[in-house]
Symmetry: C2
Subunit: 688 residues, 2 copies
């Protein structure tokens, strides 16, 4: 034990010798101010749990964090319950649920963390550490926490060659070549970070899945990762390729109704669980964007999902079947998931859950929620968010996504009357469902700071926090994250929090305001290409499919006079969306083709309003630079410089977005850019 | 005559059919409003001058202009002097001098233009046309005009291969290959434009002169140009290479004291005048930037100039000898012209004039005047301005240069007490001099619009106008030019005039405020490279030679504690420049090495003020875009679009200038950019 502690002490020293590089995330455990540290006695009381792996983690994490923050060594003091001593107890409660309570004793108080299982204690401990890190008053705690979703999962779009689809923070964290023989220390650090925010599952590989991932060779590799994750409460899942029976197993078909195929999957499940006894289950992208699926054999999504579900059922595994489907010829891509899945409602096996992207198109800066939420009432649904910023400026741009996630989760579907939010429709409180889950496409990679942009860490963080409790505010979460990641100094926290809270709307404004979508450049999805037209390419991969700009106006008519996508929503929402008068202006062009001279609520014409929005986006990015530059004295130079550089790029690129979109749309509106809007500095032809 | 008029009518039609392209310059003769045109009777009275070539030009120009503006045909009405009829008279007055007077007759008034020579009548006619074009009241004229400088000369830095050194408007106007056989119609158009603003001389070739230009072959070509120029009152001059006797004549030396060399030049002069009887003279760049000169043979500038002057003297030719000399090893380049030329004052032949750049370094956006002005009292001096924007953003950026020219011409040298302005020191009013002259390095090329940027025409225009009369205000000239070039519409004229008047200071602000100089990129002189350091290159071609940025501060100490360049100025100016307290802030860093925290007059530190100046420059360019965008309805689309595009580029490049300079200087100041200044969007390393 002494040796292990010595190693850690050395590591701690190393962290302080080398500059802040973001690698420690929000788990920095900076020394507390003297006046706060003085309240901690350094006494700790273990009643239980020290014999499990998780128990050891709890002990080590807490001891080291406590020492780092207070400068005091923790010592066990059995039965010596004193002021601010900590007590862990395992009682029979729901798994993961925990309480943190201040309990009185004769000579003061102690803090008791209680849970039904190790995971609950782990989360409770991180909760307490968070309170300490953020310098909250812990003198009288009475906290009861239960997660909203049972499965809180990161989806890694990581490939076998170490690349990451839509990854902007370096290569994959998983060294498939070196596994299972060599174990990266980052596997533990990753698991620890997830545990600290309540994430309890990882889909290790890309939904565009290589069948090899469920070969024995790769299962043995995954098993090593799972072994490390296990005490941190994290289950491993895998994406599977629907053609695996043929491609991996050598069968003549992968038809889900073929008995040999069904047997192959049962055998495969057995093999998986022999190697990964607590394997979580499969994530499946089928019949989507060229991936194989049951429709290739004339079967339904339900046929495919149920076959897999039956194979996993004996081991309590689940199937997460993605609803992200659309074909190139449909008149409105936004309607297709609903059209394909609604007829199947009630046909899925009980251990299947449908994984539905938050919006009906594809992780745009702003979309309405996917109308399947609330509508598909006999099948468990889970929201899939994107944490990686495929459409929000990669890891080059600052966009704090808690407001985006909350906007979806709090959207009222009206499925069972007012208050039927997407969150309530998926967390089991409206529709009883055996499985509740939520997924986020990870933004992690092997960059030192994990996420490329230091502020992209906040999206990993807020996804975890909201997966645990969607009622937390974006502000609360930003507050916690800033304090833990940077500093408790109010002169830093307050302006930076405001910057974060404004950042997603800034991106919307300079990229795609008023409900515009998918004006992105071909394939890479970074810069603007509203003019994009590639002969022979899928129309639904062309921006003009989405913006429908013409001499009359702008936007996609999805009302009853258009594609009628509004009909997929419940009343009164469908009517609200259907009327140009009542449609929320931030989704106006999503649902309506609006004349250039249409008067917005503030009296501006659509064209002028569009210009003002783009300008507002640019102005915001300049404000972010201004805010950030004032923070230099509060934080380390390395992170200050790195963020400063990214904000430069963001402002520059925001100007490009504004110019490209306004100049392009101006070719249709044929109207002047209003005086208060900065003239373009780029030329349309040159941007093209 | 009918045929010729028919041709012109066709051309006029063509001009109207095709869009405005800037080719007509300020000589557009747009129809006057009906209420103004009605005052013109259409009667014209020629008393004299119709028999000369110039007389024919006057008749044709005026008839066509009058017809175009009033819709009325002019008809001769001998002795029928009526309301607003025009009378040309030649009386014995000074050459070029003219009067325009309203004279009464029994049934109204007529306008009489009188001069001692054809040129005066020509200028008087263009003056009258300008009054008509700008819709001035001409009912009671009493105008007496005499040019301030006798020789008002454009210097063309045009090479034999058609390229133009520092030319940004296409290739040379002179088709040396096709001459003398083929004559471009542009030679006449060029001469006409110059005549309209009083320019009476053109140096056809680059000061970095190819000896071939004075070969018989090229003299015959130049003679064709001169023939066209002559009736427009324009003399041809040539730049000569000092080594011509050796390089062209095959002599063993070009030593100016060698009798054979002197004879060679005399013979050459004779040959020149046999071909070009009204040849103006030589422009010479000698012992400067690698060019040969008398110092190569141990002789002085005076020895060299006087040899040439003697050769030209029999034909009334002059020598314009440039004072632009500096060597790589001197501690202060700004002092060298003075140091080399002052000892030679009084030693030059009477038909030599020293051509001195307005500032002591090299056509920077702002420099103090060259201290030779006022100091060299026994030798005629002429100012050389640069019309082409080598250091003011090429023809990409809008910079109206009348304020720059006037700033120099009106600078008080104190040579003979208060009021000894550079203008008065060079126009003969303080120091009697046989020759008075002024030169501008032309910005013309074979671009359709002549000058690349439509607004660069205003610099050609204002140079001519100020060469005629330096007391005209920048505002007056801008007013004339805008009205003639674009429109008389006040809603256009007023904001555009303000934009022009602000434009040069904007360039100073975003390029080199507070007296900074020469932060330009290597060789091309467009973008910023304050960091430039090329191993082995001349130090006086490196920006650090000029800005002297270091940890303490910024700027070149030219005070008595530094290079003592201030001593080249007369008191009290030298004392004013010498003291950091009294030195004008717009030249502060030219004369002083100023601490970063030095308090400027407005209370800002130097560093903050520098930042605000760069920001002000950027903000101005945005305002220019805004102003221009509102003008679309007043002018033709072609010119509107072309200017709009250039203003985009200007704003974008202004931001690059600001970012590059502030980020670079910040590496020395180590201070934050003030809040009110936009954060950089570029990265220093990337800009490098």
């Amino acid at each position: 034990m002494r040796n292990i502690l010595f190693v850690f002490a050395f590591l701690s020293l190393a962290i302080h010798l080398f500059a802040e590089d973001g690698s420690r995330l929000w788990l920095r455990y900076e020394p507390l101010p003297e006046n706060i540290a003085t309240h901690y006695s350094g006494k700790i009381l273990y009643i239980s749990s020290v014999n499990s792996e998780t128990g050891k983690i709890i002990e080590k994490e807490f001891k080291e964090a406590f020492q780092a923050m207070t400068g005091k060594n923790l010592h066990s003091a059995k039965m010596d319950r004193g002021k601010n001593s900590i007590c862990f107890e395992i009682n029979k409660k729901l798994p993961e649920k925990y309480t943190i309570q201040t309990k009185p004793v004769k000579n003061g108080n102690y803090i008791s963390i209680e849970s039904a299982d190790d995971k609950g204690l782990l989360y409770g401990m991180f909760h307490l550490l968070r309170l300490m890190q953020t310098q909250e008053d812990i003198s009288n705690l009475n906290i009861r926490e239960t997660p909203s979703y049972n499965r809180r999962i990161l989806n890694h779009w990581d490939n076998i060659d170490g690349s990451i689809e839509r990854g902007y923070a370096g290569a994959s964290l998983w060294d498939w070549n070196d596994l299972p023989g060599t174990i990266s220390p980052r596997y533990t650090e990753y698991a620890r970070a997830n545990a600290s925010i309540g994430i309890n599952g990882s889909v290790l590989n890309n939904v565009n899945a290589n069948p090899k991932f469920i070969s024995k060779e790769y299962l043995l590799k995954a098993a090593e990762i799972a072994k490390i994750f296990r005490p941190w409460g994290i289950q491993v899942y895998l994406s599977v390729n629907f053609s695996s029976p043929a491609e991996l197993g050598g069968l003549p078909t992968s038809d889900p109704l073929d008995p040999a195929v069904r047997q192959w999957w049962k055998d495969k499940a057995k093999e998986i669980y022999s190697i990964l006894p607590d394997f979580g289950g499969f994530l499946v992208k089928a019949n989507s964007e060229g991936l194989p699926g049951p429709q290739d054999f004339g079967r339904t999504h339900a046929d495919g999902a149920n076959m897999l579900a039956e194979a996993l059922e004996p081991y309590n595994g689940i199937v997460m079947w993605r609803a992200f489907v659309y074909n190139a010829t449909s008149p409105d891509r936004a309607k297709q998931a609903y059209e394909e899945f609604m007829p199947l409602d009630g046909q899925f096996h009980k251990n299947v859950i449908i994984q539905v992207k938050n919006g009906p198109v594809d992780f745009q800066p702003r979309e309405p929620f996917t109308p399947l939420f609330g509508a598909m009432q006999k099948t468990p649904l889970m929201v899939e968010f994107q944490i990686t910023q495929e459409y929000l400026g990669f890891s080059k741009q600052l966009a704090y996504l808690a407001p985006l996630y909350k906007e979806c989760l709090q959207s009222d579907t009206y499925a069972k009357g007012k208050g039927s939010t997407v969150a309530k429709c998926t967390d089991g409180s409206i529709f009883p469902q055996a499985i509740t889950a939520i997924a986020g496409v990870a933004n992690t990679g092997n960059d030192t700071n994990w996420t490329g942009h230091h502020f992209a860490q906040s999206n990993w963080y807020c996804f975890g926090r909201l997966a645990w409790n969607p009622d937390l505010t974006s502000e609360q979460i930003a507050n916690e994250w800033i304090k833990m990641t940077f500093t408790n100094e109010p002169a830093f926290v307050e302006p930076v929090r405001q910057m974060m809270l404004d950042s997603r709307e800034a991106v919307v404004n300079y990229m795609m305001p008023l409900g515009l979508a998918h004006l992105f450049a071909w394939e890479h999805h970074y810069g603007p290409q509203p003019w994009l037209a590639i002969p022979g390419a899928r129309p639904d991969w062309m921006p003009s499919y989405y913006h429908k700009a013409d001499a009359e106006g702008l936007g996609f008519n999805r009302t009853t006079t258009g594609s009628n996508a509004v009909s997929q929503y419940f009343p009164p929402l469908r009517d609200r969306y259907n009327s140009i008068e009542t449609c929320p202006e931030n989704l106006l062009l999503w649902f309506h083709h609006v004349p250039w001279n249409y008067r917005m609520q503030d009296g501006n014409t659509l064209w002028d309003e569009l210009c003002y929005k783009y300008q507002a986006g640019v102005t915001s990015t300049r404000q972010f630079q201004n805010i950030w530059d004032k923070t230099a004295s509060y934080i380390d130079k390395k992170r200050f410089d790195e963020v400063q550089y990214k904000l430069k790029v963001q402002t520059r690129d925001a100007i490009k977005w504004k110019d490209a979109c306004l100049l392009y749309f101006q070719t249709f509106s044929r109207q002047a850019i209003p005086d208060a809007v900065e003239r373009p500095v780029y030329d349309l032809e040159e941007l093209k």
